[in-house]
Symmetry: C2
Subunit: 211 residues, 2 copies
Amino acid sequence: MSSKTAVSPWASVDDRQKVRLDKREAVLQAAAQIFNEKGFQSTNLDEVAERLNVTKPTLYYYVRSKDEILFECVKIGLTMLQESIQEVGAQGGTALDKLKAAMRRYAEIVTMDFGQCVIRVGEDPLPLESQLKLRRIKAVIDAEFRQLIEQGIAEGTIKPCDPKIAAFTIAGTLSWIARWYRPSGPLKPDEIADQCIALLLTGLCPPTKAE
Amino acid sequence: MSSKTAVSPWASVDDRQKVRLDKREAVLQAAAQIFNEKGFQSTNLDEVAERLNVTKPTLYYYVRSKDEILFECVKIGLTMLQESIQEVGAQGGTALDKLKAAMRRYAEIVTMDFGQCVIRVGEDPLPLESQLKLRRIKAVIDAEFRQLIEQGIAEGTIKPCDPKIAAFTIAGTLSWIARWYRPSGPLKPDEIADQCIALLLTGLCPPTKAE
């Protein structure tokens, strides 16, 4: 008898679980891309399957419905936004430094598949209960931005203003990138982020002409 | 025989045409309100009829389908935006004066039913041909904003910048108002417009802190 430990030709439970999660994410990402291109209503799960070279029944091994796919896509995108602003908050620097870093990450994320799906499709096509779950994450992100703005006003790096309006101005400008950005366009995401952030921080007018 | 001219108890053709157009607009506006509240897919034309105290067959005397209603709502909203910027362009003043006036009208229109429908619902749920017609109006609006920005840069009232990014920054901030504005909120549309425009023109930072 050999003393060698038998090596199972089957993957371990952990490995299989990892493969399953990776495949599920691939399904979600392919769907997000097609939602972003064509809109949620016009997307057929057959197209998602086709893009992944599998059959539609295979998709249903990973997800239950088109609604579940959209819910997960928007949740992943919002979670990326939320985590990025929390990571930035944990770094050192002034509130303005943190706000700049948070804006830059936000601009990058909304050019990516899941982030773009948050803005281009969003939670509106989903049942009310799902909408409310996703809006709770949005409210947290909004609150984090307002807090950074309030801290910036307190430290004197941001002008006195209504933090709510300032947070919506930032979110509006940066979210809009998801609507007009095309990977084939002349500007890369980081160049777009730089220019939008510069306009948000210093405005359209030379200081003497603004009033 | 009396010499008095007989007065028809029926309205004139012109009057009837006007009544018909007013009623059609009322159908479109009621639908826009419900689309904005609930989303396009979740809206049933029964609800539109109910809000107007008529039956659904009565609606079909004015419009052919839910798609036609959305197309018309978005077209009216976009036409309001387009006409407002053209009116502003025809006035005197610097390019910056015109840009400020155009931004103010844009912010007001996106808090109104048809304007809000442009942003909250938009052309995405419609067939491709309808989408393209509406996107042509959007392209005209975008071009008008870019032109004002270019003129402002030339006259020195706007800082040298990429007019495309500046136009998207303005459109993003102002369009976003349609997403978060609630008539029951603490700020009226003109106050929101004032604050957003001030942030866009002079930025979030005091001049010395921006870099």
